[in-house]
Symmetry: C2
């Protein structure tokens, strides 16, 4: 992609992630010349007081586009399956938040704080860069400094995933259903698999190989690809919780070498995109309501396992729509713009 002072950008999809992409482009002052917003149907939308005219996605819509950000969809094939190649053919760099291309060998899977160099490979390959899954992104940002210091052998992670990870309808369902329950009415799940009001359930995505969900496998396979180390043993339990936005993760890490927890803490303090919130005496640790609307990954409860000198725990929280999706995608685009 040629260096320019400003770029023609397309955002494909205006669901929870697409809207955050529009926000992230504006808030991060991405050098946009023309912005095109594409979706299945034409309409006008408003985001934070700004109006956008949504056009229907079509191959020709990518004419003249430099960077196409695909928001992806939950649980079905994203628009990138149909349109990514069309956009690339017309000269666009595609950054896809959907799951369709993430594990393909000629598509880099990128978290800019972790493996920025991989992004450049897209220009020689398919022209597509994949954005990892929300729960993977925040975890690898936390794992990378630990892996560099003490070589990670095993990761055991339990997630606390917000409703908005399943789309804006699911986020609305959390609120509407909660009000129903408070008013003594029935809780009827529609966008989510189960009742979410004052409830939680270990089911995100579909059930697959070895009785793990697709969400749990994403955390394994995407992390292997991003860290370039398929030997790390990773195992996850993913749980949907009654929070609107902001995923939490209890991450237990076994290293190959004894852990110096002060060195870990120092590494996080210096790591780009990481904010350490870890002052238990003052009841300070990351929480979803504090992470919402923020671009960073928040890490706290940093502590060694008293029964294993090579193991530690981290509590990792990030806004699943921003760092977990839109922000990361825009950051990938920034890799091609800056310097």
């Amino acid at each position: 992609m040629r260096k320019k002072s400003k770029y023609n950008v397309a955002v494909v999809g205006v669901g929870a992630v697409g809207v955050e992409m529009l926000r992230a482009l504006r808030q991060r002052q991405f050098p946009v010349r023309d912005l095109k917003v594409l979706a299945r149907s034409a309409r006008a939308i408003e985001v934070d007081g700004a109006s956008y005219q949504v056009e229907v996605t079509a191959p020709e819509a990518f004419e003249g586009i430099d960077i196409a950000l695909f928001a992806g969809t939950e649980g079905e094939k994203g628009a990138a399956v149909t349109y990514a190649a069309e956009a690339v053919k017309r000269g666009a760099l595609v950054i896809d938040n959907g799951a369709d291309f993430r594990l393909e060998p000629d598509v880099p899977l990128v978290v800019p704080e972790v493996n920025p160099k991989d992004a450049k490979r897209a220009l020689k390959g398919r022209g597509i860069i994949a954005n990892p899954n929300c729960s993977t992104i925040q975890m690898v940002v936390a794992l990378a400094p630990v892996h560099r210091l003490f070589k990670i052998k095993k990761v055991v992670v339990a997630t606390y995933q917000a409703a908005s990870g399943a789309g804006s309808k699911a986020a609305q369902e959390l609120f509407d259903q909660t009000r129903s329950v408070l008013d003594g009415r029935a809780a009827v799940p529609q966008a989510l698999d189960q009742r979410i009001a004052f409830n939680l359930f270990p089911h995100i995505g579909g059930f697959g190989e070895a009785a793990y969900t697709s969400e749990e496998w994403k955390m394994v396979k995407e992390t292997h690809k991003i860290l370039h180390d398929p030997k790390i043993k990773i195992s996850a339990t993913s749980v949907r919780v009654p929070v609107k936005t902001g995923h939490g993760e209890a991450v237990y890490i076994e290293c190959r070498r004894p852990v110096d927890i002060d060195a870990v803490r120092k590494a996080f303090t210096e790591a780009p995109g990481v904010v350490v919130i870890d002052d238990p005496a003052s009841s300070r640790y990351p929480m979803p309501v504090d992470a919402e609307g923020r671009d960073e990954v928040f890490i706290g409860r940093i502590r060694k396992d008293p029964s294993d000198e090579k193991a530690l725990w981290l509590w990792v929280v990030a806004d699943n729509l921003r760092k977990g999706a839109a922000t990361n995608a825009v950051q990938i685009a920034e890799l091609f713009v800056k310097r």
Copy 2:
């Protein structure tokens, strides 16, 4: 304690757990002759349509009592610290749900499905039996069959703990605060450490040694005592979630021998007090809303770690006020009554 056809029972405390003790005694048809309800202040209360006259706790109140169930309190010393010895002196067997005596060597810590024989030691010792912490109880019920089969080496657990675990005020706060947030008003934490409406936080109990919370240490030390095996490495992250009642636990277990997952499943099917709900294809797994009001421990998501033949995951849910507190205490009393 002499065998009788009916027993004089005292329940001390009428908070969330005390009320469930009254319920459990009635629902389980415990052979009660006279029931005395004690608390800090005298008053009349109603539980499920039945009226109880609450008397003020005092040493003499235990005169003639055969079994005294202390409900315990959150975050402060329980009434058992003051009155357990007085009750024992007057001939009562004390079963204490509080945390004060749990780790004392001459006080058995009992989960009837796991270590019922330990209960008998109370009669030769202090006359006190301690009820474990809610999050410990449901975990050890799940661990015990696995430990018998494949010898557990390490347990890594992340909890999803309901508001009612912090008492009835905290449960009410969840509802009131959630309504406030839905109505656009502020969320002001009072009974809990942080905002609980649509939020969660890794802070249960106080912070102590090695930056672990008291709740996290309870899961380590109580499990060691109940399973009679302090060599098992146990490490926990405890998280409060916006659920009223019903704790969830993502439990990762490393064994000394390779795991036969069908044998684990069979053992759970046969284990007393366990209900297996594990049919992912039909979206069936344990959830807090289904466990509420039930006496059993619900286990699902039973699966091996594909990257480690000696490791498995369990998803464990139980009603923290019932099996996690009141039911377990009444079951301990039943050990002395039955057969």
